[in-house]
């Protein structure tokens, strides 16, 4: 996928003025956010599990080489073909070759962010293979020629009306008089169309939420069952997974699974959690005849020796974006690459370079909610701050920006002067603006007042109020 991060500011402006998108995003607080809070409240051990989850992943990452070797040994013993891909291009080539060897005409796909990261669909399509996304949200995005805007709800930016219009436009066999006013009718229509694809597919490609070293298994989690139809009806099952997905045992994966659905959708457990080990067995009447796993690095191994090792704990639940004021305002597409929201603001610059994604770590209010809700306790704001430092050291931000920072720093390092200056400014702004309560325009603050009023101070600074408070004076 070609990044469009360099136009982040423009992307964000467009998103803020897109009424369809704003309507679609308005449901986040009462939907995924409220559901997560309720699920967390029902499980008193939730916070303990976050520590456990973090420790499992930290332990695994510290021994990643050995767990990957063990995973490979076990998977191979069960009949899997394990492939290693250092880069996106290599992963595409491996999968393309598997499809060619299987003489594949139709490929169905379960949801996989890694396949987005490596740009798999266009590579397969260029080779003349029909690729069908089967997760309903991914399918909606695919037929529109778009990319997912959320890692677990790829079509969260679309409204029901848009879906109906797309189906009427693109589903050739859909009679014009078919009523499609209810979500259930739309789902029924998609189910029918995709069922035929499941049955016709030669190769089924899924991602993996986890790989288990103990057994050589890959794990997928869905609510629709699309991943299961993808992998059990096609002749060949291909799993594409990044190297940090491995965990040691079934006990470890069980603990992390207790966090995943609750953090993602607020469900007690996802409807389908599926553990796959090798191809079908000699007596099995169904299941794939061949099973391939492609292990992708694509820059992750380089993060291990850095502060960004912690981001490799991510289990892609999406809680950070659901709780992010920036994501809630601009949606996922504005972030310009595969991973949106706070995790994207950390992961994208780590994988493709700060130089190419400098706006992302700056697109944060540092409110800290992402870290508070992260099931793997990834310190996302701290890592964004690291990226900002890197950007600064590369001479990143504009001259004006640097000058502003420099001026502020000069004052901040002189507390007495700082207090006098802020006291004067606060008093002046208070005197001019107290009557109206806010400024619509202000010199040097056009960046603020273009979008919202600047509230007028009430006359005294925080430092003054604090000093009075400590002295016991009435406020």
């Amino acid at each position: 996928m070609k990044p469009t991060i360099e136009s982040f500011k423009q992307n964000a402006r467009v998103a803020l003025h897109d009424p369809q998108l704003q309507r679609a995003l308005a449901g986040l607080p009462t939907g995924l956010v409220a559901n997560r809070a309720a699920a967390r409240a029902r499980l008193p051990e939730f916070e303990d599990l976050r520590d456990i989850g973090r420790d499992i992943k930290d332990h695994t990452l510290a021994h990643l080489d050995l767990y990957l070797e063990e995973y490979e040994r076990k998977a191979t013993a069960a009949g899997a073909h394990v492939h290693w891909a250092a880069t996106a291009a290599e992963a595409r080539e491996i999968i393309l070759q598997i499809c060619r060897d299987a003489d594949a005409k139709i490929v169905t796909k379960g949801k996989s962010m890694i396949s987005e990261e490596i740009g798999l669909n266009s590579a397969l399509e260029s080779a003349g293979i029909e690729v069908v996304e089967t997760d309903l949200g991914e399918y909606l995005v695919q037929i529109r020629g778009e990319t997912p805007s959320h890692i677990i709800a790829p079509a969260i930016h679309l409204t029901q009306d848009q879906v109906e219009a797309d189906f009427r436009r693109l589903h050739k066999n859909l009679p014009q008089d078919r009523v499609l006013t209810e979500p259930a009718q739309l789902v029924g229509e998609a189910r029918q169309v995709l069922r035929e694809k499941f049955l016709a597919a030669d190769v089924g490609i899924t991602g993996a939420n986890f790989l288990i070293a103990e057994t050589g298994s890959s794990v997928i989690v869905t609510n629709e069952g699309n991943g299961d139809l993808t992998q059990s009806l096609a002749r060949v099952h291909v799993v594409v997974a990044s190297i940090e997905k491995v965990v040691p045992t079934r006990e470890d994966v069980s603990s992390i699974l207790r966090l995943l659905a609750r953090s993602a959708t607020g469900q007690e457990f996802s409807t389908y959690t599926t553990f796959s080990t090798g191809p079908r067995r000699p007596d099995d009447p169904d299941g794939p005849q061949a099973y391939h796993v492609v292990l992708l690095d694509n820059g992750r191994s380089e993060l291990l020796g850095t502060a960004f090792r912690e981001v490799l704990r991510c289990i892609r639940c999406g809680a950070c974006m659901n709780h992010c004021p920036v994501y809630s305002a601009i949606g996922g597409h504005a972030y310009g690459w595969v991973y949106p929201g706070p995790i994207g603001s950390v992961l994208t610059p780590s994988l493709i370079g700060v130089k190419h994604a400098a706006d992302l770590p700056n697109a944060s209010t540092f409110c800290g909610r992402c870290e508070q809700v992260c099931p793997m306790k990834i310190p996302l704001p701290k890592l964004m701050r690291h990226h900002r430092e890197t950007e600064f050291s590369l001479g990143g931000p504009s001259h004006r920006y640097r000058l502003g920072l420099k001026t502020w720093a000069w004052f901040a390092q002189r507390p007495k002067l700082y207090h006098v200056a802020t006291r004067l400014a606060t008093a002046a702004l208070g005197a001019f603006g107290r009557r109206r309560g806010a400024f619509r325009r202000l010199p040097f603050a056009g960046g603020w007042t273009r979008h919202r009023d600047f509230p007028a101070p009430q006359g005294r600074t925080f430092q003054q109020l604090w000093a009075e408070h400590k002295a016991g004076a009435p406020r």
């Binding site: 449901g27 939907g31 008193p44 051990e45 303990d48 599990l49 456990i52 499992i56 332990h59 021994h63 990643l64 080489d65 990957l68 070797e69 063990e70 891909a85 250092a86 290599e90 997760d135 309903l136 909606l140 709800a153 790829p154 409204t159 029901q160 879906v163 979500p183 739309l186 789902v187 189910r191 995709l194 069922r195 499941f198 049955l199 057994t215 298994s217 629709e224 069952g225 699309n226 299961d228 059990s232 040691p248 006990e251 470890d252 207790r258 469900q267 007690e268 409807t271 389908y272 599926t274 553990f275 796959s276 080990t277 090798g278 079908r280 099995d284 009447p285 169904d286 299941g287 020796g305």
Partner: protein, 231 residues
Amino acid sequence: MTSSRDAILSKIRSGLGITRDDPDRRTIVERRLSSRTRHLTPARVKEKSAEELLKLFRGFLERESATVVEVDKKQDIPAAIADYLRSNNLPARIRVGGDAMLTQLPWGSQPHLEMLLGRAQPSDEVGLTHAAAAVAETGTLAFASGPDNPVTLNFLPETHIVVVEERDLVPSYEDAWESIRARFGSEAMPRTVNFISGPSRTGDIGGRLVMGAHGPRRMCVIVVRNSDPGP
């Protein structure tokens, strides 16, 4: 491909600051893999009676819009299935795998039920499978694929009927893994293990929940109570 493998592993080792083969690290990993340490059992299933676990299991499944039916003995299963199909206006034709418990039930008591054997076919409307375990902590059923219970039966038909025995009801996921280990060997797995917690669903259109996205639209779980003396 071998070269990418070696390159990735060597980059990982250099990132971790490992310069030589360290037997201590291997010992740590081997110990972790063989000890299978359990981390935490949720209080909701700790030291609970069989009755309490069943109530919890049932409650979660019903919340996820599954139907749960309890029968006192296996012989009652065919009648319970016939009842469910009739009351939901569903066809009396059922696809089932080679599972000995299921195939040996007294189907003759329900002569109008037609039984089809084998993996699921696209035209099948009702699938019947036997769960290897039931997990109380979230109302989750665990299935092991194979000739007895082909994996497609869990997903292709619109209606999924599940039989599970109360003696296979366990508190946690980890307990379900112990059952699977006892059956398949300590590190071996069947091709597919499915953990299923209700009928298929999606929220992808306008954020509204719709049942029957790709898998079954409805699910009926028949629990055989412990009172059954068994064969």
